[in-house]
Symmetry: C2
Subunit: 283 residues, 2 copies
């Protein structure tokens, strides 16, 4: 159940270069994030999530498709080689539990944990289905201009974002907003057919809600993110390279942390993923 063979290097999408892995023995892979999806003090967290999930998808013992992923960002990742361990710790009849860790040598050469994760894969079946998250009525992506990428953030050059509501503050004037909701269309740039990896990455597309609430430039960063995958492979293939609609909103802000939830729909209105994250903020 490993991924399809990788295409020739000159055809490889930047996302696959940035999240690529080389086998390094049972349950182990090596890689290096590179600069393509660089954020401020490490790679875009969504790319890191995809990197960890890729090991699960590549694992020869994998059963089923991703259903849940929780990634904990323990320390900034350096643009240096890492070692990734992904191990199935429990295989049931139709589901499987994974424990994942990414380590790197620190500046002193000591190997430290940079990220941990757990994942659930499962054989998806047809069942009763329903949603309590109807897609908001919004302008289609094609009717909107591309929102300019954020200067100096390489990863934001790799996405075509069409913002509907809830922009980054234009001025950091401390004007408080009661509601932190943002809505946006997003897709890979250049276009890339949607898969579980890019869906995991796009789950981390929403800037820290505290910035929207406060228009105050406090340092902030995701500490833990959970993604529930509601799409199966067929739904991903049907989504193709179309933009996904995402909506994110903050929940509770206190004592240096807040959480935010988000949903991702495809253009047909199907919920592909729901996601939650807890974010550190300084003040």
């Amino acid at each position: 159940m490993a991924d399809a063979p990788r295409p020739a290097a000159d055809d490889v999408h930047p996302f696959d270069l940035a999240t690529g892995l080389q086998a390094a023995g049972p349950h182990h892979w090596r890689g290096q994030p590179g600069a393509l999806y660089w954020n401020m003090v490490g790679p875009f967290g969504g790319a890191t999530a995809a990197t960890l999930l890729r090991a699960v998808l590549l694992h020869p013992e994998r059963l089923g498709e991703p259903a849940a992923l929780t990634i904990n960002y323990a320390a900034p990742m350096a643009d240096a080689p890492f070692l990734l361990e992904a191990r199935p710790v429990r295989t049931n009849r139709s589901s499987q539990h994974w424990v994942i860790a990414l380590t790197q040598p620190d500046a002193a050469g000591v190997v430290v944990t940079v990220a941990t994760a757990t994942a659930l894969t499962a054989v998806r079946r047809e069942t009763w289905s329903a949603t309590e998250l109807p897609m908001p009525q919004v302008m289609p992506a094609d009717a909107l201009p591309r929102t300019p990428p954020i200067a100096g953030f390489a990863w934001s050059e790799r996405y075509d974002i069409r913002l509907l509501d809830g922009p980054l503050p234009e001025t950091w004037d401390g004007a408080e907003h009661a509601d932190s909701t943002s809505r946006l269309w997003m897709r890979d740039l250049p276009p890339r057919p949607l898969d579980f990896l890019s869906l995991a990455a796009m789950s981390d597309m929403f800037y820290p809600r505290v910035w929207r609430r406060r228009a105050h430039r406090t340092p902030a960063g995701t500490v833990s993110m959970t993604v529930y995958f509601h799409a199966d492979q067929a739904a991903l293939e049907a989504s193709g390279t179309s933009a996904l609609l995402g909506e994110a909103r903050g929940q509770e802000f206190r004592h240096g942390f807040f959480d935010q939830r988000a949903q991702l729909w495809n253009a047909d209105g199907l919920v592909l993923a729901t996601t939650h994250q807890i974010v550190y903020f300084r003040d």
Copy 2:
């Protein structure tokens, strides 16, 4: 930063008996769930979450208070001895990342993984605070009768539940509801001062939303739950033995899984925890 000394055995609350641990060397504890919080094929998942978190709280190297917990229910837990490993894998200046696993011998004596978890602890500080989850206006707990426990489920005898909205279906007649919201007041029975352990347990208080949606008795069980703790120790102490208000709602139901989100407020309207879980259902 270990817990306060345990009281004499005859004063021990059933919750502490059911989630108690004995030290078993560095990073390791032993325990046994017992029948006090038994559910259908294992202990109440909330009690299991508390058991895993207890190891973190007891750990001599712990830094700060719980901020996030993700627990994965990999297999039914037997009422038999278990071994629990809780290891701090990364300690930063004011936060710490934990990896946790619970194992038991299976029927053939082979040691298997029953649950995995990751946790974040952090030194909480005063910062700007706000909520986007105002407490719903509801009847106070004291104005409502206790909702009868569910016959045959020991754990439900251990909670004083006052249901406001969204009961279990009285008849399993297949009548669909468009909205799966439930609201209820809850507290330990007998009363027990709120702590991070009981807050973790009460985060799993909401029956599977698919039952509410469908009034169809499909087998269902939580596979993974994430809790974000917004309360610090002072907020827990201020909550004391008062009932907490919980609200839960389903999100997306498809391919044998659905997810639900929930919030827990204390009687003063403070959000103590937000939580999300993904639940298996059969058909």
